[in-house]
Each structure stands twice: as structure tokens, then as C-alpha cells.
Amino acid sequence: MTNPVMQATALQRHYQVSGGLFGKTRTLKAVGGVDFALYPGKTLAVVGESGCGKSTLARMVTMIEEPTSGTLTLDGKPIRPSDWASLRKSVQIVFQDPYGSLNPRHRIGAILEEPLKINRPDLSSAERTAKAREMLGLVGLRPEHFDRYPHMFSGGQRQRIAIARALMLDPKVLVLDEPVSALDLSIQSSILNLLVDLQERMQLAYLFISHDLSVVRHVADEVIVMYLGRAVEKGSRDAVFSAPFHPYAKALLSATPQADPDARKERIQLKGELPSPLAIPDGCPFAPRCWKVQDRCRAERPVLPDEDHSAACFFPENGGTPAGASG
């Protein structure tokens, strides 16, 4: 198998937040220890409900924020903050909101050339323009769009521009944080097609973050399901979708509406709501909402087994290997 282009080991990000009445600061574990590997030409999807740490993970991977602990490697070499400036061009990000992420005062041409200006002093101005024009074509925009401003574009076109900008420095890894969530269905499909084409052409590794499981099922090779800052299940797309091991993954899948009125199925009703990330339960974080919970679940924390398809659960569904407890 090819080597991973990026690897994360026990990645954590904690925030100190000033708490309630007495102003005591508390620790918010936004990401509490996640492992993964990204491969050229492959898509790893990260799914989970809002607040589970997906965007925080994205910010660490793209070197916007430093992990509290754990390591990230790029091409086998550890990423340290002192290397950020030189490594950032290899890892680029596209955000959900195609409106907020483009400077309204700059023409599209200037927006695309900017990363080159900063990172590629070796290129002449004519070379920069040529590269930007080429990229414009690659993402399906027309040459005359080069001199227009962001407000003159539709949401889908703006997302194309954001993707083009992210690709200007020939990155190896593209982090896509809810890239189609703000788009209408008829626009969403053309952006997903574009991402498929670009990945194949440039052998990009995608970290695809989404709360929409039907989109993930379409694009992902591998999937990680996160809950309260931790990976509770990982596996190939087919394995996770056809036979989820973790009760939360199973509930999430069953709650996702299917656009097929004949496929009426039983939804698993989860009790209650997501606990506050400031008060993550000891033991299994899912225990307060889990219908399979036993005493052991509240006492010990299940650890994600290191297998191709695995779940951090003592009593997994669909014949998964039971997790061991953290020491």
C-alpha cells in the first residue's frame, strides 16, 4: 500500500474557557485523542453532530491551531509549529460558507493569485496570472470571470472559486469542512462531481467533513464517526454504512432521512441530548444516551481497537470486536 501523506496520532485540542459564577477556568476537550491517516487520491470522511470537534480537527490539520498534544506528520515527517509556514501550502482548506471566505473587494484573479504572491516568489507576475487562469478553467469557470468580484457569483460558483484558491499551491491534502452544506441540491451535485474530478487528476488526499451522511456515503473511502471529540468508530465506507458497530453510529445512520418513501424503517430514538463538552461523562461518553448501557460502560472508557473496522464500545452491534478499556 502507498504511504500515507498525512498521519495523526492521539491528536488532542483542549480549550480553557472561563466558567460560570466564580470565573474559574475549565477545560473543554474539543478533540480528545484522534488517530487517522490520509492517502493520496483517497477520501477520509469525518462525520458527527455539531460540536463533536470536526472543525477543530480541521484547524489542527491545516496548521491554523496547534494541537494540545499528539502528533501530525506530513510525508512521514512530524509537523512542528516552526515548520508551519513552509508546510502550510501542502495542506489547504475549503469552508462551508462560500460567502464569508472570499474577500469582497478583490477580483477573482487577485484572489487566486494571492497565495502565489506569498508562497511562490520565484514566479513572475505573468506566470502567476497564467496559473490562475488555468485553475479557473479547471474548476469550471469561464475566462471572463477572472476580472469579476465575488458578489457577482452564485453560491455554487463561489464554492468553485474557494476550491480553485485552495488548489493554487498544488497541495497534497485538501480539508473540506462541510463544503456542500450551504448549497442547494441541484448545485451540490456539480460541486461533488468537481471534487471527484480534481482528486483523480491531482491525486489529492481529502479530509471530508460533513454532517450529511448521504453525501459522505457517496464520496468517502474511509469514515470516522466522532462523538464528543473522540472517534467512536472507524472503517471503510461500506463496512460502516452496511454494518455499523457502535450504537451511536447505528443511531446516527437510522436517524438520517432516506429519500425513499417505501423504505420506511425504524428509527432508533436516542434519549436526551448531547452532553456539554465541558462535562464529558467518565467511562463511555455515549453511556447516558445508549440503549445498551451496562454498569461497565459507566465505570470504564472503551478504547477504539486498532483494526480496519472497529468501534469504541464494550458491547458493539453487528458482531464487532468488543473494545478494551483504557488503563
Binding site: 453532530e49 441541484s186 448545485i187 451535485s189 446516527l252 432516506q258 429519500a259 418513501p261 430514538q269
Partner: protein, 325 residues
């Protein structure tokens, strides 16, 4: 007789750049006890058409219709005071962002008791008892404690339950829910959709569910109305709509669903929804429709009969189904 009956409803906004037609000749019936979904992409006029029914549009809007009647009463002829009395009582609406409909300065309990006071003239003790009962009905745990909470102290899902509790407080005959779960996570969305369906089953109220999510439509609705650029372009019962759509736009939208994909490339719909300045002559979908011909570009297609889903199209799809079914 339908509970809500709308004929030829149009809404135009006066904007700095001229008049803009947001809703264009919509007919709609909603029966007692049914769940009707109105589905369409953003800007297709779903919210504006229902806000027009509720009388909640700003003064820049001009509403015209041949008929808008609710429970046998003509809403167009009704004066503002009579309409206000009806709204919130027999006819209620909830929105995507519960936080923006709730007043942040008052506890949710105060707000629900106030609604009960205004609409039902209940006494203090009675109001408190009914508020607790309503919170229980919408599945809010520990209702007595939650009544004392301010909106910002509750989660999005909990606030939406509060909104639903307020909306059903006066046992409405019709509840219009405008993207009630769009801002929520799927596990919470499932809870809220189940709650709305259960309330309909219990109370027999009609439910209009506005959404852009085909999955939500398929799992919740009984009948579906599809909107495009302010027009209603098709209406069918949910099963046939997904199996045998008649309007090319409905068909294209369903094809674009990732879960229906048969290969890595998804079918797409070229172009974008027309805006204020590029509204085409003829069929509004013609610039994007793969079946469009000269007639489509020149003439406005009228709505077909009910056996063809009232599709606004000259060349409806799946017409042989008529014979089959």
C-alpha cells in the same frame, strides 16, 4: 372541504431595483389532519407563500389572490384584528430558528403562559398547569424546572420543542412548520419530526411542513408540493412523486440526490434558479430543462390535471403511469 384553500396566490416585493415576484400564481389545498410538504430550493417562495397566508409579510409585499380561505373563512376579507385573533390560535406557525422567535429577555415559561393568557384568557394557576402539560406533551423533561429557563439556557432542539408547545397551546387546526429541523442535528431532527407526526395523530391538526430536504419529505409527508422560482410546479402523493415524478424539474432534483447515485458522477442541473432580472419568458425551468423546445421558451405551460400531478409542463414525464395505476 379543505382546511386551507389557496387560489392563484402571488406576492410581489417592491425592491430598490424594481418589483420582484417571489410567489407566482400558487394554488394549494391542505386537508384536515394531513401532512403536506412544500419542498423546493432556497428562494423558491416556500416561506413567503405561507407568511402571506399568515399575514406576516412586511409592507413592501403586495399579496394578491383569487382565494385564501381557512376553515371556511375568507382570510383576504377579514380585517387585521380578526385575523390576528385567528393566528396563533387556530392557525399557528413555527420557524427554523426558534431562538429568533423567542424573546431572550423572558423565561420560556413566561412566554408560553402569556400566549395562554392572550388567546384563551386562562387564570394564573390554570396557565401554569397547562404550560406544564404542554411541555410534557412535547417531550421536555423536568418541565417545571425548564419553564424557568431563558431561551439561551436551552439547546436548539429544546427551544424548538418550546416553540412547538407554544404553537399547539391553543390546539390549532393547522400548524405550518417552516424548516423546523434544518438547524438541528439528525438525531434531534428525528425526535422533532416524530413529535410533530405524533401531535398530528393525537390532535388531528393539519401540518404543512416546509423543507428543502427530500429525505425529510419522503419520511414525513403524505402529499408533496414542489416549488420552483415562486411557482408550484408539481403536486403528488409522496409515493408516486418519488417513483414517477411528472415535472422534469422534480425528476432532475431526485436524480441529483447522492443516495440515488449509480456512479461516481452525479447527474446535475445546469445553470441556476432565475432571479429578478433573468426570469425567462415561457416555462421558468426552460433554460435548465433538457427537454425544452421553442414552445417551452415562448409559452407559459399551464398546470395539468391531477392525474399528472398538476405539473406545469408541456411534456410531462411518466405519463404511462396513468394507465398503470
Amino acid at each position: 372541504m379543505s382546511l386551507l384553500r389557496i387560489r392563484n396566490l402571488s406576492v410581489e416585493f417592491a425592491t430598490a431595483s424594481g418589483r420582484f415576484r417571489a410567489v407566482d400564481g400558487v394554488d394549494q389545498d391542505v386537508d384536515e389532519g394531513e401532512i403536506l410538504a412544500i419542498v423546493g430550493e432556497s428562494g423558491s417562495g416556500k416561506s413567503v407563500s405561507m407568511l402571506a397566508v399568515m399575514g406576516l409579510l412586511p409592507w413592501t409585499a403586495t399579496v394578491t389572490a383569487d382565494e385564501v380561505s381557512f376553515d371556511g373563512q375568507d382570510l383576504l376579507a377579514m380585517d387585521a384584528a380578526a385575523r390576528r385573533k385567528m393566528i396563533g390560535k387556530d392557525l399557528a406557525m413555527i420557524f427554523q430558528e426558534p431562538m429568533s422567535s423567542l424573546n431572550p429577555c423572558f423565561t420560556v415559561g413566561w412566554q408560553i403562559r402569556e400566549a395562554l393568557r392572550i388567546h384563551l384568557g386562562m387564570g394564573r394557576r390554570e396557565r401554569q398547569a397547562r404550560a406544564i402539560e404542554l411541555f410534557e406533551q412535547v417531550g421536555i423533561p423536568d418541565p417545571e424546572k425548564r419553564l424557568g429557563a431563558f431561551p439561551h439556557q436551552l439547546s436548539g432542539g429544546m427551544n424548538q420543542r418550546v416553540m412547538i408547545a407554544m404553537a399547539i397551546a391553543c390546539k390549532p387546526k393547522l400548524l405550518i412548520a417552516d424548516e423546523p429541523t434544518t438547524a438541528l442535528d439528525v438525531t434531534i431532527q428525528a425526535q422533532i419530526l416524530d413529535l410533530l407526526t405524533a401531535l398530528r395523530d393525537e390532535t388531528g391538526m393539519g401540518l404543512v411542513l416546509i423543507t428543502h430536504d427530500m429525505g425529510v419529505v419522503a419520511e414525513t409527508a403524505e402529499r408533496v408540493s414542489v416549488q420552483y422560482a415562486g411557482q408550484k410546479i408539481e403536486e403528488q402523493r409522496v409515493g408516486p412523486l418519488f417513483r414517477t415524478p411528472h415535472h422534469p424539474y422534480t425528476a432532475a432534483l431526485l436524480d441529483a440526490l447522492p443516495e440515488r447515485a449509480t456512479e461516481k458522477h452525479l447527474p446535475t442541473i445546469p445553470g441556476v434558479v432565475p432571479g429578478q432580472f433573468d426570469r425567462p419568458e415561457g416555462c421558468l425551468f426552460s433554460p435548465r430543462c433538457k427537454f425544452a423546445d421553442a414552445k417551452c421558451k415562448a409559452q407559459v405551460p399551464p398546470a395539468l390535471g391531477p392525474d399528472l400531478g398538476r405539473a406545469r409542463c408541456f411534456y410531462p414525464l411518466n405519463t404511462d403511469e396513468r394507465v398503470a395505476s
